[in-house]
Amino acid sequence: MTFKHSKDTYVSIDDVDISAFTDSSEIGRKIDTSDVTTYGKASHVYSTGLMDGTGKISGTYDDSEAGPRATLTELLAAGEAVTFIRRPEGTGAGLPQDSVSVFVTSYTETNAVADMIKWSVDLQFSGDVDTTAQAG
């Protein structure tokens, strides 16, 4: 078991590789819980339900045709589910990968006067996350 650095992380959305414009990404997965506690219990008892998940990607603005603004604002406006792929250890046979259908639910640009233009998007997962490792 070894530690892994984030610098080789790969992210693509709707088949567009936006890794070179990205400096942070995260995915969050959770499962619904229902309280099924009955009389006579000293502690809450829960039952699990459906899985759910969200993602967030952010980085540095680029004005190219395949840059984050052009790619992500189009997806936000389209309102259609697209494939989000994240490879936390980079690209390579056998390395982990998460693939899931997502909706782009927000796109934010931040222009601080003393910094590069930054961007971020929020993603809402729709359906199961495929965690199959990358093929050779």
Binding site: S6, K7, D8, T9, Y10, V11, S19, A20, F21, T22, D23, S25, G59, T60, G90, A114, M116
Partner: protein, 135 residues
């Protein structure tokens, strides 16, 4: 970004300022008014994933005349000015570059630069550049 190419491009742009002797690397001696492009004070690999972007901060030293001369102050003021034909900030930030994507000139530190035993009035600009990491 290739460091030598970045320093050359910055020096090349500074050379468009009339009367300023420009060196693209630290030299042992110079005759004021002169500009020296130094080695990065700091930088950062991996500004984005997959070797997408790097950054570095390049010091640019501007040396004018003797500290005690009024003409030195006036000349230095033109280089520090936020606009004008001799404005280091304006000249560098309006340039066109191929070795990096963006450039920003920050407010300089004032200093004394000693050449051959003589103290000259000088300023050091921090010039931040941001460019491609692996291309």
């Amino acid at each position: 970004m290739n460091l030598a190419n970045v320093m050359d491009e910055i020096a090349g742009r500074l050379s468009t300022i009339e009367g300023l002797r420009v060196f693209a690397w630290p030299v042992g001696t110079l005759t004021p008014p002169g500009a020296v492009v130094g080695y990065p004070a700091d930088g950062q690999y991996d500004e984005t994933y997959g070797r997408g972007a790097d950054s570095m901060t390049i010091p640019v030293v501007i040396v004018v005349g003797r500290v005690s001369e009024r003409a030195s102050r006036d000349l230095l003021a033109a280089y520090v000015d936020g606009s004008g034909a001799r404005s280091i900030k304006t000249v560098l930030e309006t340039g066109t570059y191929t070795t990096f994507d963006t450039i920003r000139v920050q407010w300089p530190d004032f200093d004394v630069y000693t050449v051959a035993g003589t103290d000259y009035l000088s300023v050091v600009f921090d010039v931040s550049v941001f460019g491609k990491g692996s291309s």
